[in-house]
């Protein structure tokens, strides 16, 4: 039976009815129609579904929607501001950090999660932060370049 769930998604308070077995990923995609977050494996292996849960990157397919009660969720749709794209988004587009784009929302959320707690990461730290995100198109080189460039730009 569907149950009430209160949470904040992309800075917007939401109250919705969700089945108890729904994953956070299915809730975002099928109930809130936020389809920017992607479903690759649905088993925690690919990272395409990565979102920020209270600022920390999680694979949303492995998180029950109801465990995000009262939490703050940020998806790829919530990164851009009035001023434009988030620096990480900008850098992915500019440096060829994406091809098909299916892994991209997840990679971007992992990168944003990293930069939020460490805005001066080494290349090693960047590589580690995206170690759980699969990308079949790029071979990762340009992804790392993009994240390093974004960090550079975001640095005060």
């Amino acid at each position: 039976m569907k149950r009430h769930l209160n949470l904040t998604v992309n800075s917007e308070p939401r109250q919705i009815l969700v089945e108890p077995y729904y994953s956070l990923l299915d809730m975002l995609r099928d109930e809130l129609h936020l389809t920017g977050t992607k479903k690759g494996c649905d088993e925690g292996d690919c990272g395409a579904c990565t979102v920020l849960l209270n600022g920390v990157p999680v694979t949303s397919c492995l998180v029950l929607a109801h465990s995000a009660h009262d939490a703050e969720v940020t998806t790829v749709e919530g990164l851009a501001t009035r001023e434009g794209l988030h620096p990480v988004q900008q850098a992915f587009a500019e440096y060829g950090g994406l091809q098909c784009g299916f892994c991209t929302p997840g990679l971007i959320m992992s990168a944003v999660g990293l930069l939020e707690k460490n805005f001066d990461p080494t290349e090693e730290e960047v590589r580690y932060a995206i170690g759980g995100n699969l990308c079949r198109c790029t071979g990762y080189t340009k992804v790392v370049q993009a994240i390093m460039a974004a960090a550079e730009q975001a640095r005060p």
Binding site: E43, Q89, Q99, G101, T141
Partner: protein
């Protein structure tokens, strides 16, 4: 002469980038239609069985279920990309674990999934065959006894059991070649079952309206071909089917097949609702259309000085239960078993064999990664026997300008040797290694730009904004941006003023879609032709406006120069503003184009540098040098992106990726168990591009989609041998195999 380009040759960021990074791009699974149902399928647990009975009555009555179908509920037509041998739903017989036997459509995915549990199927198991060579024996069960009745078989099937295609290539007299040889070497190799590994699973959405018109959204990169396959199996005219453009989350050859689309239509018909089907990744790994496993035997005759004289080769592809998942019945790359060498006597046999495994399809450069792994390993094994350096041995035999290819063809501007030399240079070939158990290995292959057919229009509006319209889906390669650059260059306008609109399948007659390294060539020439047509029309208009002849008008830097005294310059926008009076109107150039086979190919030599742990057998790739014989490069960023992605896929193939099947049952059915390269696996990559030569694509460019993934496995295998003397002849090169090879080497020591 070097031509100065303005847009061509610059790393223009892809137009679809901003939408992709902000989650706005629509992929098939994101399509949501009013009243849409979710379709799910029940799959066979047996590799070969007779279906005695299927009962879907309990599923039909389950809550939320709107349709439940078996093979008996739909017409018996078979489907296929060329060879139509695959049932939409199995009727009497299943031939692989994962074959679809029943399907349901329900209000939501959970209801559909629950309903599958209520379907009762009674099977009677039949003897099965999994090994391709065994399947070829007369004693093996014959999996398609009715093959003669199938539509789409381009040649009579082989008399050999379960062989649905036997192809031969070659030249000269191979027996004579062996007689003239000083030494003859024979080796066998095998390559594994591999998944394309795109992160987006197969998906489709089908809507049928009351008049029977079909609309669909499907992550298929060759939508016109799909439409014709569906028209045949559904028995409705092609013009009743529309495929809408959609972004594709990775292809690598895997997204050219019909997959669930034929079935989704029947669920839509029977439920009276639009239906969405999305494969989960378990089904992807179990029952999509992976790369063919291959068993390859090579026999080569050489002179004592290392000159190749004869090559006899055979490859047996384990095609699985159906041949339906490939656009030809055989894999074209099999003809590369002579390698990139000058060999006077060649005989190549390729066999496509039915077995009770998952049916295989295309993956990036079909057959070539298998073939070149074998050929390049074999070359090094021969070099070792002859005491020659593998680099020198290749230089002695590599194909050169004017040489015939091993299959009797020829290429213009052959630059194979340069790629070998540059790869040796860049990798420090022959120099001492900086640590123990390190090795270098080399491999070479080639990939010509592919031919195809395409249609484009290029429109300019009153403000001078340009729109390219083509029915070419985005698979992620950056094709649309490359085409914008081609058109911008021709019209001498800024690339930002050129946008790309993807049309649906009603808009044009045909497009071959992406694949076969063809887009830069085929779609590129088409867009260029349409831009030229538009340019001619604009020049004509400008001449009319300024009362001169078109011969006196040229277009340069976005401006018409009109000869005369004095010469006048008129911006394009002035002409378009004056000529196009109605808002929304445009001047349109058009092109329909059918590419002929490219006269040039593109060689790629790679050197892998590895370190092998002799205790564990673990191979660590430190560096890969990849050297490409390129034409002009339209977009260096997306070009490099293809190279990098391809090399890493090749590395996954070489070292880690294998769908492990036992008796037809694949056991590693998650991306946690089926490992593809992740960030920590990535070696240093050095790309060397030769000076641009000529190419058949716009502005003397070539294709790049497939070449970099082909030589990797051979280069790594040879590097492992160089490092620790262990020769692994079967892919992937796992630590267990390396250890076994090290032990074998030690036990063979005198």
């Amino acid at each position: 002469m070097t031509t100065a380009f303005t847009t061509v040759g610059t790393p223009v960021a892809r137009a679809e980038g901003p939408d992709k990074v902000s989650g706005q791009t629509l992929y098939t699974a994101d399509v949501d239609l009013p009243g849409m149902l979710w379709g799910k399928v029940l799959r066979s647990p047996f590799p070969h069985a007779r279906i005695v009975n299927i009962d879907v009555s309990r599923a039909q009555e389950a809550p939320g279920v709107r349709a439940a179908l078996t093979g008996r509920d739909i017409p018996p037509a078979l489907v296929g990309r060329l060879l139509r041998d695959c049932p939409v739903l199995a009727r009497d017989r299943v031939r692989f674990v994962g074959e679809k036997v029943a399907a349901v459509a329900a209000d939501n995915p959970e209801a559909a999934q629950e309903a599958l549990l209520l379907i009762d199927v009674e099977y009677e198991e039949l003897p099965a065959v999994f090994d391709a060579s065994e399947a070829m024996q007369a004693s093996a069960p014959s999996l398609h006894p009715d093959i003669e009745s199938y539509v789409g078989l381009p040649q009579p099937p082989s008399p050999m059991n379960n062989v649905f295609a036997h192809n031969r290539w070659g030249k000269g007299e191979v027996e004579q070649g062996f007689r003239e040889s000083d030494r003859v070497f024979e080796h066998t190799f095998s390559a594994q079952l591999m998944h394309q590994g795109y992160i987006e699973p197969h998906a489709c959405v089908v809507r049928v309206d009351d008049s029977g018109r079909v609309e669909m959204w499907v992550n298929n990169k060759a939508p016109f071909n799909l439409r014709s396959q569906l028209s045949a199996v559904w028995d409705i005219p092609e013009n009743r089917i529309t495929l809408h453009p959609i972004s594709i989350g990775g292809d690598f050859g895997g997204k050219g097949s019909f997959m669930d689309t034929p079935l989704c239509y029947y669920l839509a018909i029977h439920s009276g609702r639009p239906v969405k089907m999305v494969m989960d990744y378990l089904q992807e790994l179990m029952a999509a259309n992976p790369r063919h496993p291959a068993d390859i035997a090579l026999k080569t005759g050489v002179k004592n000085d290392g000159t190749l004289l004869a090559r006899e080769a055979s490859v047996v592809f384990n095609s699985g239960a159906y041949g339906a998942f490939k656009p030809r019945v055989y894999l074209g790359g099999a003809d590369h078993l002579g390698g990139a060498y000058q060999v006077p006597h060649v005989s190549i046999d390729s066999y496509m064999v039915y077995t009770n495994n998952v049916p295989c399809g295309h993956m990036r450069a079909p057959a070539k990664p298998q073939v070149h792994f074998a050929v390049e390993s074999h070359m090094d094994m021969i070099a070792a026997e002859l005491g020659l350096d593998p680099y020198e041995f290749r230089l002695r035999n590599v194909i050169r300008q004017g040489d015939e290819t091993p299959t009797g063809g020829s290429w213009e501007e052959v630059r194979a040797e340069e790629t070998i030399r540059r790869a040796a240079q860049a990798s420090g070939w022959g120099q001492p290694k900086d640590r123990p158990n390190a090795g270098r290995g080399m491999a070479i292959s080639d990939q010509p730009p592919g031919a195809g057919q395409s249609e484009a229009s290029v429109a300019i509006d009153a403000e001078g904004k340009v729109e390219i319209r083509m029915a070419l889906w985005d698979t992620g390669t950056g094709a649309h941006t490359m085409l914008r650059q081609v058109v911008a260059e021709e019209l001498t306008v800024p690339v930002d003023d050129v946008r790309f609109t993807v049309q649906n399948t009603d808009a044009v007659a045909f497009d071959s879609g992406s694949g076969g390294s063809r887009v830069t060539y085929t779609a590129g020439q088409t867009a260029l032709g349409a831009a030229r047509d538009l340019k001619a029309k604009l020049v004509q208009q400008a001449a009319g406006l300024y009362e001169t002849e078109k011969e006196y008008v040229t277009l340069q830097g976005g401006t018409f120069v009109i000869e005369g005294t004095p010469a006048q310059t008129v911006p394009i926008t002035e002409v378009t503003a004056r000529v196009i009076s109605e808002p929304g109107n445009a001047i349109i150039g058009e092109m329909t184009y059918s590419a002929t086979n490219s006269p040039v190919t593109s060689y790629c030599t790679q050197v892998a540098e590895v370190e092998v742990d002799p205790e564990t057998g673990q191979v660590r790739v430190e560096k890969i040098v990849t050297v490409h014989d390129v034409g002009a490069i339209i977009n260096p960023m997306t070009h490099q992106g293809q190279i990098e992605g391809g090399v890493i896929q090749g590395m996954g193939y070489a070292l880690m990726e294998e769908l492990v099947a036992e008796e037809g049952r694949i056991s590693n059915l998650t991306l946690g168990d089926y490992k593809i390269p992740t960030m920590p696996d990535i070696p240093k990559l050095e790309t060397v591009l030769l000076e641009p030569s000529t190419g058949p694509a716009p502005f003397q460019s070539k294709g790049i989609g497939e070449s970099s993934n082909v030589p990797v496995a051979g280069a790594i295998a040879n590097a492992v041998y160089d490092a620790v003397g262990a020769r692994v002849t079967s892919l992937p090169i796992t630590p267990e195999k390396v250890l076994r090879a090290i032990r074998e080497r030690e036990s063979n020591k005198p």
